[in-house]
């Protein structure tokens, strides 16, 4: 059967083009791959090759013709045994494939960042005790809690291993992996060379291959070298594979400002990672949360960004003495109940939030303090239920102010609880400057307890 050769689309945006030159004439025999014509598109002049073999029976569109629509017939190809008389003129009747829906063809508006509940869905607090009443507690540092979480999970599952710079023989740059090499050996506690991009990618490949890697970054500042593997390879592959390929991996390490290490070692990346679908993002404050959430992270079938803080590593907290203690993602913790204002924070921001709340109570202001604990998924309902009660909200974090996670919380409150607000939400964040080295400037660059107190007074009109 004679085949029509159609005007090809030679770029994603091409709708029509100029048939600049024919390189074959009627009667020529062509094989697949032979160049038939030169076509000028909106971008360039390109060669157009034959797909099938045969004889050029008829040239429909002569060279030099401009504005030839994509998919209109430009020539007819005859198969073996056919001749030009077999050509039926179908120029007008060729069905043009329906254009596929491009992004502009989709009428649906972009849904809100959260699956927004309907009006009648009044948010209810998810906060509940994380362990049974009467559980024996032990005092532990965040550092010890993190180590115990990893060690417990490694004892339970041989597929769990840890790799990173100085995690083995050095016992961890921040001593998080202390004694792990002794217990698990160098098959499972692996020192890497200083090559974040490479070992993050090897971790992703190992996760595709059925293992459950924990990749430690000495700090998340250095994960910038590896962020392509984290975002493009780890976070997106489940979706791009239509659900076939999981990537169960934990990227963890200290994040945010430490002390006097200046701009390149002091950034909080929470908002960056929290903006990426496919990642889960954890930023714990207490030792109990660090332990329970890290165990959940290691068991999670998705890539988890686990943001620790160097300043918090040495802080001690009560940790429940339980054989297998985990904390689920997406469940905030109410550290302090109050009725006058909601202070929302997470990670090291909680140190400012709790201290400010303590001081405010001395002045008769009763603040409710919520620790989000995980930023993706995030427990919107506990925040919204609290704001609907207090009608005021202040957020506290150390990250940069522009496009911060605080902004996301503020906008969610505005969209879902606008009528309940008696004042604008105020976000207390780090300042919009690279972190300075000088001690006095560094202090100014972070948020502070007085700033939080001032913000609370502003929203409570005191």
């Amino acid at each position: 059967m004679a085949t029509e050769i159609l005007m090809p689309a030679l770029s994603p945006t091409m709708e029509e083009g100029t048939l600049a030159k024919w390189l074959v004439k009627e009667g020529d025999t062509v094989a697949s791959g032979d160049i038939l014509a030169e076509i000028e598109t909106d971008k360039a002049t390109m060669e157009f090759e034959a797909v099938d073999e045969g004889t050029i029976g008829k040239i429909i569109v002569s060279e030099g013709t401009e504005g030839v629509k994509v998919n209109s017939p430009i020539a007819v190809l005859l198969e073996e045994g056919e001749n030009a008389d077999d050509i039926e003129t179908t120029e007008q009747s060729t069905p043009v494939p329906e254009p596929l829906d491009g992004p502009e063809g989709r009428a649906d508006p972009a849904p809100a960042a959260t699956a927004a509940p309907s009006e009648e869905d009044v948010p209810k607090s998810n906060a509940s005790p994380d362990w049974p009443e009467g559980t024996e507690m032990v005092t532990q540092t965040v550092r010890e809690a993190l180590r115990d979480a990893m060690a417990e999970e490694m004892r339970a599952d041989d597929n769990v291993f840890i790799m990173g710079e100085e995690v083995a023989e050095y016992q961890g740059a921040y001593k998080i992996t202390q004694n792990m090499l002794e217990e698990f050996g160098d098959r499972r506690v692996i020192d890497t060379p200083i090559t974040e991009h490479g070992f993050a990618g090897i971790g992703v490949g190992a996760a595709f291959g059925g293992l459950r890697p924990i990749v430690e970054f000495m700090t998340f500042n250095f994960a910038m070298q590896a962020i392509d593997q984290i975002i493009n390879s780890a976070a997106k592959t489940l979706y791009m594979s239509g659900g076939q390929m999981g990537c169960p991996i934990v990227f963890r390490g200290p994040n945010g400002a430490a002390a006097r290490v200046a701009a390149q070692h002091s950034q909080d990346y929470a908002a960056w990672y929290a903006s990426v679908p496919g990642l889960k993002v954890v930023q714990p404050y207490s030792a109990a949360d660090a332990k329970g959430l890290l165990k959940s992270a290691i068991r999670d079938p998705n890539p988890v960004i686990f943001l620790e803080n160097e300043i918090l590593y040495g802080r001690s907290f009560d940790v429940p003495k339980l054989d297998d203690f985990t904390i689920p993602f997406g469940k905030a913790r109410i550290w302090r109940e109050g009725k006058d204002v909601t202070i929302v924070s997470w990670g090291i921001g909680m140190t400012y939030a709790l201290e400010a709340a303590e001081k405010l109570s001395e002045e008769g202001i009763d603040a409710e303090v919520i620790d989000l604990r995980t930023l993706r998924p995030v427990d919107y309902d506990t925040v919204l239920a609290s704001v609907m009660k207090t009608n005021r909200c202040v957020t506290v974090e150390e990250g940069f102010p522009v496009a911060s996670f605080s902004d996301h919380i503020a906008s969610t409150i505005m969209q879902r609880a606008f009528d309940y607000l008696d004042a604008p939400v105020i976000t207390c964040t780090g300042k919009d400057v690279p972190m300075p080295y000088a001690a006095n400037l560094e202090k100014l660059a972070l948020t502070s307890v007085p700033e939080v107190i001032e913000a609370v007074k502003k929203v409570t009109y005191r």
């Binding site: 649906d108 490479g198 490949g205 291959g209």
Partner: protein, 340 residues
């Protein structure tokens, strides 16, 4: 040019059936890609579409050296790799058209396809990102103590990326069973290796990391197979990674919108006329009396039918349901089918 160590001279004994199989497998890729180009021209395939025409002997030769359980990962020029490892042409073509019946349910497209069943780990759109991933797959096999190897394919363009060398270092340090296959088709998009790379012999760079390797004639499927078998044996024996720099040639543009201004038409035509991998096997079959013209015509016909069926399927399969927008972002549990 540096001294070359190549297994290309030591051609393996190959049966007529095997030869016919390679002919068939290479032809499937070529015809499939020609059809993909055609569907692109009709607007049925969108975005980027990188065809593998000209390079067929690379994947067919290396797959001939693989065993069940071996893994493979590659870049965005991935259709040939998928067909060569036995993935269904219908599922691949339907992914190209962005349909429900595609390997990624239409959510990945030409550059992002996967098959747990066939141990094909993508399909990666970021140049060289698949290199550490391939080493990581090999890491997993070594960790589990099996003797599988991973074929990690990348191009001459990717070969200048830093993460390749980070990976070389760790792969050799940890003796990972990873075969780094550099598909040197001589052009990174429109930049010839001569214009991008001071030292033209990519495989020799392995020496800086202690990795063995060799250059292979990528237009000769038997030479590729022989080199592949050598590399596989080396890796399976636990000796660590191996580099194969396979010299090949891409007949078509980098992607569909390639103005072809960076090389001459004569250069392309000369490769097609004188070095074509499929034609070479065809001549071997005919001159060796392993097959008649009619036998080959029958294969051609069979392939044409498979490709046409895949195109029909890819046109008829519906677009993904709109609810698919919100699925596969997070896994509730690990996808089933252990990747071992």
């Amino acid at each position: 040019m540096a001294a070359r160590r190549s297994a290309a001279k030591a051609k393996p004994n190959v049966s007529a059936d095997e030869l016919k199989q390679y002919y068939r497998d290479m032809l499937l890729i070529r015809r499939f890609e020609e059809k993909a180009g055609q569907l692109y021209g009709m607007g049925l395939i969108g975005g980027f579409c990188h065809l593998y025409i000209g390079q067929e002997a690379v994947v067919v030769g290396l797959e001939a050296a693989a065993k069940d359980g071996d893994k493979r990962v590659t870049s965005y020029r991935d259709h040939g790799h998928m067909l060569a490892c036995g993935m269904d042409p219908k599922g691949v073509m339907a992914e190209l058209t962005g349909r429900e019946g595609g390997y990624s349910k239409g959510k990945g497209g030409s550059m992002h396809m996967f098959s747990r069943e066939k141990h094909f780990y993508g399909g990666h759109g970021i140049v060289a990102a698949q290199v550490p991933i391939g080493a990581g797959l090999a890491f997993a096999d070594k960790y589990k103590g099996n003797d599988n190897v991973t074929f990690t394919y990348f191009g001459d363009g990717a070969a200048n990326q830093g993460q390749v060398y980070e990976t070389y270092n760790m792969a050799e340090l940890w003796d990972l069973p990873c075969i780094f296959v550099i598909e040197n088709n001589q052009y990174a998009m429109g930049t010839s290796t001569k214009r991008s790379t001071k030292s033209p012999s990519y495989w020799e760079r392995g020496a800086a990391y202690g990795i063995e390797g060799e250059e292979v004639d990528g237009m000769d499927v038997l030479a590729v197979k022989a080199a592949g078998e050598k590399a596989v044996a080396y890796c399976r024996a636990g000796k660590g990674p191996y580099i194969l720099e396979v010299k090949t040639y891409r007949y078509r543009g980098h992607s569909m919108s390639d103005p072809a201004k960076y090389r001459t038409r004569d250069e392309v035509q000369k490769m097609r006329d004188e070095r074509d991998a499929i034609e070479m096997v065809r001549q071997m079959l005919l001159t060796g009396d392993h097959a008649t013209e009619d036998d080959l015509k029958a294969i051609d016909k069979e392939i044409k039918e498979i490709v046409n069926e895949s195109a029909e399927f890819a046109k008829e399969s519906p677009e993904p349901d709109e609810s698919e927008l919100w699925t596969d972002i997070y896994a509730e549990e690990l996808p089933q089918g252990e990747a071992v």
